[in-house]
Symmetry: C2
């Protein structure tokens, strides 16, 4: 009933979970595995693709396929409980730029207006685990100096805004599961065929203006996002105030890293 590649995936999954292969160990080459399971290499590769999407296998071009078990997942914590996260080291870079169409729409400013972009790259060890691009209108950018960020998804910007006296009112986070754009795949060092979890976030102050907009891209295979809602006060009433934006086609990391390196790519390791 099941297909070949599902069968093979099932068998390999069990092998890995039972610990037949230790974590970090290289699997036999795809040719050998194909022989071993009696299928062709394309079919075997479908099975590996499944396991990769489950976070059980880590493919490395030129090196091999590696076992990832237990498949540790990162947790993205929603705005309500944005605590720090251990085991990730995060780099930030700052760029002054102008809002393109999608950023302008998110931030609620005119297209071409000046904004400051903060790019967070979080790694576990040497492997990238998330990219965040956070945009702040120029008028607020001077309040922020993310030197040594403790928080991998730009939540320290919120803290700094608060500390600087900006009165924040609400945060909206919009999640989509999709395949990565080519540049995202490259930056995160994942295949273009594995899913990413994309979070578009806007932060508003008490006057309703958006003071920060961000896009977080996380490899679907090894992350989850958690949101906690306190139900104490009846917050169901005011839902007519801000209809959730009917058209927003693609939440995407608008790849324009620093104008200088925009032809070469970010990366580095």
């Amino acid at each position: 009933m099941a297909t070949y590649f599902q069968d093979v995936a099932e068998q390999m999954r069990n092998q890995i979970r039972q610990g037949s292969y230790p974590n970090g160990k290289r699997l036999p080459s795809e040719d050998k595995l194909a022989d071993q399971y009696g299928v062709s290499r394309p079919t075997l590769r479908l099975a590996l693709e499944q396991l990769q999407n489950e976070g059980l296998v880590d493919k490395r071009h030129g090196s091999g396929n590696f076992v990832r078990w237990p498949a540790d997942r990162l947790t993205y914590l929603g705005t309500a409980r944005s605590t720090g996260w251990h085991g990730l080291n995060t780099e930030v870079s700052t760029t002054e730029t102008t809002a393109d169409t999608s950023v302008a729409a998110l931030l609620g400013v005119e297209e071409g207006e000046k904004v400051t972009a903060f790019t967070y790259l979080a790694r576990r060890g040497t492997r990238p685990r998330s990219v965040t691009r956070s945009y702040v209108p120029a008028r607020l950018a001077r309040l922020i100096s993310p030197d040594r960020p403790q928080l991998p998804w730009g939540h320290d910007i919120r803290q700094q805004l608060t500390a600087a006296g900006v009165r924040l009112a609400s945060s909206t986070e919009r999640l989509v599961a999709r395949l990565p754009m080519p540049c995202e795949a490259r930056t995160l060092q994942i295949s273009q065929r594995t899913t990413v979890l994309v979070i578009g976030r806007t932060l508003s102050d008490v006057s309703g203006r958006v003071v920060e907009a961000a896009v977080v891209v996380l490899p679907g295979q090894c992350t989850e996002a958690v949101f906690t809602t306190h139900i104490g006060l009846r917050s169901d009433e005011d839902e007519s105030s801000a209809p959730p934006a009917e058209r927003q086609e693609a939440i995407q990391l608008v790849h324009s890293p620093t104008p200088a390196e925009s032809d070469k790519e970010v990366s580095g390791d």
Copy 2:
């Protein structure tokens, strides 16, 4: 520079977005498209798979590939603003069963204890758009009667609990992007190779007990999830109270629709 299948996908994407194909129209057969773009059918199918994951193409076995543009997305609204949703018709079925391991863990009850499961199937037209399985401990089940649900993801259960006097305190929603289990793919009528967005939700009362646990499975290609957080009160302080559960391997719809067929499915580990 780019690969063939990305190139083809790009071209077809532009064609579709420019409206060269009207919404709902059948594309030429894969053989013809492969000829047309000068690639083999497997390569063309990779391109189609991309577009399918973007929600631009609807594949129907035996019938053809159909244009879906504009690619309307459903919006899952997090607990804070769980309003109704128009254009979906939802069916519910109720099952009394006993908690298996994963349900027991979610609900915080003993394995084997009696629980009531509500299964929501939401459709747009005839096509399924989400499956929700909501579990309530037997002691609370009598409070609930989801006759004619207005809400496709079981949020009416929360309303009924509130109406019955249960004092709710918080809701935690945990999102993962992954490939569907075979049974999920069948229920949602999607390919096993397109991603789903899975939301695990637990609802706790003021005493900290979990009163409802649910799993929502949404086709990634055509849904997004939105969470809004009000920042008025400082909710950052109490985050030590409930650490977000270190191990929860697979949030999955534990397919046991009718107890009868539960012996030959499921899997797990």
